[in-house]
């Protein structure tokens, strides 16, 4: 499999691992592939160079994966992971028995994900089409520079900016009241919490989201437009028959990745704003895991929820990818 268009040099697939500069240029040795042991000896220093990076990945990405066994244990911090007693699926009972707090977190997560697919996902596509239609390259560059900027701000900064601009005592409300108009309370209102979260995601990432679509748009063959123009296609027709098919692949790819994230909605963003609106409106799975595990000490339950969430995420990506293949799309990786 070649995920995400990872490039492989042709030599990787070749049968001869012999390289110039290995000190051996005799014709006899270069014909026969080296044995594993020889290759290992030859490349051991190369492997050593990559060791610190690989070690960090294994230590902090793979070994913790095994730590998920505490989902099946009654983890007690002072006893340790290995010594803690097994409890079977007891920790999963919040999921199977439908603990109200868990169901609430699940519902909020799914609603937010749905809102983001419907209201956030199309925005970068529309913006990219708009930017792509600009013929003046300098204006296009300038607008891109401005729109990409919020992506590089942390969520703390974004939330702070929103509070001080749109909060009850914020700039916009102050301006409205000074002119005798009625203020609004977008922030701190549980009813509007999901709208607030969604609009913040648009503000922060809609501009940055255009980057992949713009790249796909720039690769559409200009001759297709010229040919369709000769055939008398209007601009709308060209959009429908040339432009959209040209970016269909990347749209499908990003939708698949989004689907894998359907149970993950910005932890930092939501955690930062839970205070004033209460948990009923704002608790999502990630904050549920955090408050139950790290804060509340229900390690097993939190790990169980986190594990189920992770497994479902992987299944969704693989499943969506399969469906994309059935429809003839390339998906995240090709078969």
């Amino acid at each position: 499999m070649a995920p995400l268009g990872i490039k492989d040099s042709p030599a990787t697939t070749g049968s001869s691992p012999q390289r110039p500069g290995d000190g051996a240029t005799s014709a006899a040795r270069s014909r026969r592939p080296l044995r594993r042991r020889d290759r290992l000896r030859r490349d051991s220093f190369l492997l050593l160079l990559g060791l610190p990076g690989i070690a960090a990945v294994i230590l902090f990405q793979y070994i913790p994966l095994a730590g998920n066994v505490i989902a099946f244990k009654d983890y007690q911090p002072y006893v340790g992971i290995v010594e803690s007693p097994w409890v079977g699926l007891a920790n999963f009972s919040v999921i199977f028995n439908g603990d109200p707090d868990f169901l609430n977190a699940l519902a909020n997560t799914l609603i937010l994900s749905f809102l983001q697919v419907v209201f956030v996902f199309p925005v970068p596509i529309a913006l990219a089409l708009l930017l792509n239609s600009l013929l003046n390259e300098r204006i296009k560059r300038a607008v891109q520079s401005v729109l990409y900027l919020p992506h590089f701000m942390s969520w703390v900064i974004v939330v702070a900016i929103f509070q001080h601009m749109l909060g009850n005592g914020g700039l916009v409300n102050m301006w409205l009241r000074a002119r005798g108009m009625e203020g609004f309370s977008l922030i701190g209102d549980p009813e509007l919490f999901k709208a607030l979260i969604t609009s913040q995601v648009v503000w922060k990432d809609a501009g940055w989201g255009t980057i992949l679509f713009l790249a796909a748009l720039s690769r559409i063959d200009v001759e297709l437009y010229e040919a369709s123009a000769v055939d008398g296609a209007s601009r709308l027709r060209q959009l429908w028959h040339v432009t959209l098919p040209g970016i269909k692949g990347i749209i499908v790819l990003l939708l698949i990745l989004k689907l894998g994230d359907v149970l993950t909605v910005g932890f930092e963003q939501i955690y930062l704003q839970q205070g004033p609106v209460g948990l009923e409106a704002s608790e999502v799975l990630d904050t549920y895991v955090y408050t139950n595990g790290v804060v509340g000490g229900n390690w097993g339950v939190a790990a169980a929820v986190g594990l189920v969430k992770g497994v479902i995420g992987v299944i969704l990506v693989l499943g969506a990818n399969k469906i994309a293949h059935l429809f003839g799309e390339r998906g995240v990786y090709s078969r």
């Binding site: 268009g5 490039k7 030599a11 070749g14 001869s16 691992p17 110039p20 500069g21 290759r39 490349d43 190369l46 492997l47 160079l49 990559g50 990076g53 960090a56 990945v57 230590l59 902090f60 793979y62 070994i63 913790p64 994966l65 730590g67 505490i70 708009l130 239609s133 600009l134 013929l135 607008v143 729109l147 990409y148 900027l149 590089f152 701000m153 942390s154 703390v156 702070a160 900016i161 509070q163 001080h164 700039l171 000074a178 503000w203 980057i211 992949l212 790249a215 796909a216 200009v222 010229e226 123009a229 209007s234 601009r235 060209q238 895991v289 595990g293 790290v294 939190a302 986190g306 992770g310």
Partner: protein, 311 residues
């Protein structure tokens, strides 16, 4: 599309239509509409920053008159900045954040480049399985609780290393750097080896100088990530004296904790308006990103990132 060429015009309904790359330029109403939409988008992004910076610079009387925030300071002054830097909490957080960002970025960049290099040599032992090891990290994450327990197990809680080591390697960055290395002219590398250069000196003398662009952009991405990291500090750092800027920002600017109450040592006759102080802290955490942004921006234009992510 910087050089518009005039394609042979199609003439439906006998009307001559000029096309640019096969696309008919829209009429003036449509162009005006596009302009307005883009202008609004840009204003929505830029105006909050203008207001934040202006309020941090505005004098107290103007803020009182305006009711809290100003869009343009009449008599800009740096009182708010003097006040927050006289406050030990902000200065210390700033030092922590700068330290984490500098050390973290250097370590991440070194490990990423070395790993990418060792995965980029054609036909080398174990390169394929190790590449898969890196790639799989893009598909799953071990989960919050096991990650926390791992850091705890290693005794890194309340240590600055907890903010660096777990995020030392970003698989995506490894892929970007590796594909850049693969695109380097392999003849040059081979001739260096024939001349007797070992793997390491080939890497340092040939590969690194040829890869400044991709290393710069990867380093900037790591730097922005370290600077912005909030969640790891929330998880791993309980000691408020070790808090980085993002946590201090949350306390004072998002949760509106009173700044005066925290600092007995603010000098001067009066405190600047609370909004000015808050906005000054906010600006302090934004400025480093604004400083590196033009450099990042220059590399987007070259399409390095997009080149590696071709769908």
């Amino acid at each position: 599309m910087s050089t518009p060429t005039l394609a042979p015009a199609a003439r439906p309904a006998g009307r001559r239509r000029r096309t640019v790359h096969g696309v008919t330029p829209p009429g003036y109403p449509v162009r005006a509409l596009k302009g307005v939409v883009l202008l609004i988008c840009c204003a929505v992004v830029v105006m909050p920053f203008v207001a934040v910076i202006s309020t941090s610079l505005a004098a107290q009387p103007q803020i009182d008159a305006a009711g809290g925030y100003v869009l343009w300071p009449d008599n800009p002054n740096l009182d708010a900045y003097r006040a927050i830097f006289a406050n030990g909490v902000v200065t210390r957080a700033l030092a922590v954040s700068i330290g984490i960002t500098v050390v973290g970025t250097l370590l991440s960049l070194a490990c990423t480049a070395l790993l990418a290099y060792s995965l980029s040599r054609p036909g080398s032992f174990g390169a394929k399985p190790l590449l898969l090891v890196v790639l799989f990290t893009l598909l799953f994450s071990p989960g919050m609780i096991p990650s926390y327990l791992m850091v705890k197990q290693l005794g890194l809680l309340d240590s600055y290393w907890s903010l660096i080591l777990p995020v030392l390697i970003n698989g995506f960055n490894v892929i970007i750097v590796r594909s850049f290395f693969l695109d380097l002219p392999q003849d040059v590398l081979d001739s260096a080896r024939i001349d007797g250069a070992g793997e390491f000196s080939t890497f340092v003398r040939i590969v690194l100088p040829l890869s400044k662009a991709v290393l710069a952009v990867t380093g900037l991405f790591y730097a922005v990530a370290y600077w912005n990291s909030f969640f790891s500090a929330l998880l791993y750092i309980n000691d408020t004296a070790k808090w980085p800027m993002q946590l201090v920002l949350r306390t004072y600017v998002v949760d509106n904790a009173s700044i005066g109450a925290q600092s007995g040592d603010i000098t001067g006759e009066f405190l600047p308006a609370p909004q000015s102080l808050q906005m000054a802290i906010l600006v302090t955490s934004i400025v480093p990103i604004l400083v590196v942004y033009p450099f990042l921006q220059r590399h987007f234009a070259k399409g390095i990132l997009v080149g590696a992510v071709k769908g």
